[in-house]
Each structure stands twice: as structure tokens, then as C-alpha cells.
């Protein structure tokens, strides 16, 4: 449960980081707050700032929202013991992590500018991926085939004679 709660909190934070970048890409709020180095504008105005005609940050908002919704759904009491939710979270986190790796590569080796907000988002999705993978592996250990449930294995007292 702790894993899923951690993923939900991280996804919420990531969602707002992506939301800020998306709103900025739509022209809200003037210059982006990016610190003295100011690589955000270079990244945000580069040709890689849009994907399939939409700002990259928009996909970030959608991606984090998806992770958040799935994590919350997985936290329902009925879903806590279901390992399929762990698989779904690990899958979503891996897609997000892969996309972030590609974007970070573009920043470092193609655009040659670092956007602090993008680095922040990359750190968040990396953490989500680590936690999601840890939970997925742990859920495998706990899966019904190998699970050792103390309650189930506890010896039932036999009828007294």
C-alpha cells in the first residue's frame, strides 16, 4: 500500500509541474520562472517542444494524471491484493520513464539547454518508475503461487476428542 501511496503523491506533484509548463506553453503567465541560467525558454521554443501538434507538457499532464488515477484505483481496499494493478502502474511508469529519457537526451545532446522544470519532472517520473518497479517485483513475490499467507497456513485446531 505504501508503494502505491508514494506513487500517487509523486504523480500529483508531477502533474502540477507539467501543468505549469503546459499553461506556459499556451501563453499564460509571461516569462517562465527558470532561474538565472534560463534554459527553459530555449527548450520550450525549440522544435521539440511540441509532439504531434501539441505541447510536450500536455502529454506530461495526461501521463501523470493516468498514473495518479490508476494509483488511487489501486488503493481501493478491494484492489489492494490484486497484482494486476502493480503491473499496470509499472507499465505506465515505464512508458513515462522512456519518454523522459528521450526528452532528456534531446536537452543534453541536441538542444544543448537544460530546463530546470523538465529536470524536476524527469526526477519525479524516475522515482515513480523505481517505486512502481519495486512494487511490481514485490507483488511477484507475493503472488498467489508463491505467497505464504500466515493466516492461511496457520494450522486449524482439530476437533477435540
Amino acid at each position: 500500500m505504501r508503494y502505491r501511496q508514494t506513487i500517487a503523491v509523486l504523480a500529483l506533484v508531477g502533474c502540477f509541474v507539467a501543468l505549469y509548463l503546459w499553461l506556459h506553453a499556451l501563453g499564460y503567465g509571461g516569462a517562465i520562472k527558470c532561474g538565472a541560467s534560463g534554459g527553459c525558454e530555449i527548450v520550450q521554443t525549440s522544435q521539440w517542444a511540441t509532439f504531434l501538434g501539441l505541447p510536450v507538457a500536455f502529454y506530461g499532464v495526461i501521463g501523470y494524471l493516468a498514473v495518479l488515477v490508476v494509483a488511487l484505483a489501486a488503493l481501493r481496499p478491494a484492489a489492494l491484493a490484486q497484482t494486476s494493478w502493480s503491473t499496470l502502474l509499472a507499465l505506465l511508469a515505464t512508458i513515462g520513464f522512456g519518454f523522459t529519457l528521450y526528452l532528456t537526451y534531446l536537452e543534453l545532446f541536441v538542444i544543448h539547454a537544460i530546463c530546470r522544470w523538465c529536470i524536476g519532472s524527469a526526477a519525479i517520473i524516475t522515482l515513480i518508475w523505481i517505486v512502481a518497479m519495486a512494487e511490481w517485483i514485490a507483488s511477484g513475490v507475493r503472488s498467489p503461487a508463491t505467497r505464504t499467507d500466515p493466516a492461511a497456513s496457520r494450522q486449524q485446531p482439530g476437533p477435540r476428542v
Binding site: 501511496q5 503523491v9 500529483l12 506556459h24 499564460y28 516569462a31 517562465i32 534560463g38 525558454e41
Partner: protein, 225 residues
Amino acid sequence: MNRFYVVLTVLAVVLGVSVLALLKTSGGAPAAAAGPPPTVADDGFRGYSLGQESAPVEIVEYLDFECPVCATFATVQMPTIKEQLINTGRVRWRFRDYPLPIHKYSRFSAHAAQCAGAQGKYFDMQDQLFEHHQWAQTGKDPSSLFRTFAQAAGVDLKTYDACMESGKYAQRIEYSRQEGEKLLVDGTPTFFANGTKLFISLRRLPNSDDFKAVVDSISARPARR
């Protein structure tokens, strides 16, 4: 309600308020540098120039940094013109500002170039503004991008920020614009050779050959006594 959901809700509210605050406080272009000044004064400045003072022909270019045609001219034609006419001592090229009212950040970009010029980096900043001209197509506030350009141009940012904030060169830019207006500049870029307006009937962007023809024509005339 589960304590976790309370924490999550509080966190969502805090983050939402933070994003709103960030959007509200994101500093835009300083009004002093972005808009026309209330008064106009001649500070005696007549534009930054390239080439030798002794060059027989002076070309004056009225430009607008937000104008895409000016950017194309600067990046495509100007390198050849520099090589063939300016570096050979045949032409001196002077740049004057003519911010067009249809462009939102014309004055602001001209002011950024002037603030860089105050630190001896006008041409480096001009290169940055024209070579990364995608800023002019986004319609977004370019203040922080210009700071990045200024930094790349080798400008001291603290002095640059103070210059932009004060709108120190707003009057100079407006004086240049009014000067252009008196000379019937009707668009950008507009060129004058030794005071005569060029390419009035040309329906395309002039190239290095057009300027070479102008310079050849002026040089062929007998010197006045």
C-alpha cells in the same frame, strides 16, 4: 476519511495555489522597454555601424528585430554583403531601429540590442536575435529568452537587467523610428545609400548583387568638387 486522502487533497490545493502564484508573478517584459516612451529626445546616437569610416558608401538599414524578412536578410544576405562590400572597405553599414506597431515585442527586442550595445555587444546580440528568430513566431513574452541571448552574447546580466528595467534607450529607439518616418520608411528592412532610398520598385528582398550594383553605380560617378 482516510488520513492519506486528506494529505493528498491538501497537497493538491497547495500545488494548485503555487502554480497560480507562479503564473501571476512570472515577470513580463518591463513596460519601460517594451512600450513607446512618453517623450522623445535626441541623444546624438545615429546607430551602430559596421565597416570603415572612410568607406565611400554608407548604407543605412532601418530594421525591426521582430520582422521575419529582416531576420532572413540578416542571416542569408548579410554574410555575403559583409564579405564582399563591408570587409573590403567599400561600404559602411549603419543599423537604425524602426519598430513596427504591428509587432508586440519590436521595441523590447530593439531595447535588448541597445542594452547589449552599451556593453559593446550590439552585434553579438543582433546575431542572437536574428539567428534564433523562432521567438518572434511564438507570440510569447520573450524576456527570459532574451536574457539567455544576452548571456550567450557575453553581456553582463546584472547590468543588462537594470538597463531593461529602466527603459534607458526607449527614447533613442523612438527617435530612430520618427527619423525613419520622416524619411518615408514604409516597412522593414528599408535601405538608404548615402541618403537615397533604395529598391523602391523592387518586389523582392534585395541580395548582395543588388547592393554591389548600387555601390558600383555610386563609385562610378565622378566625385563632386
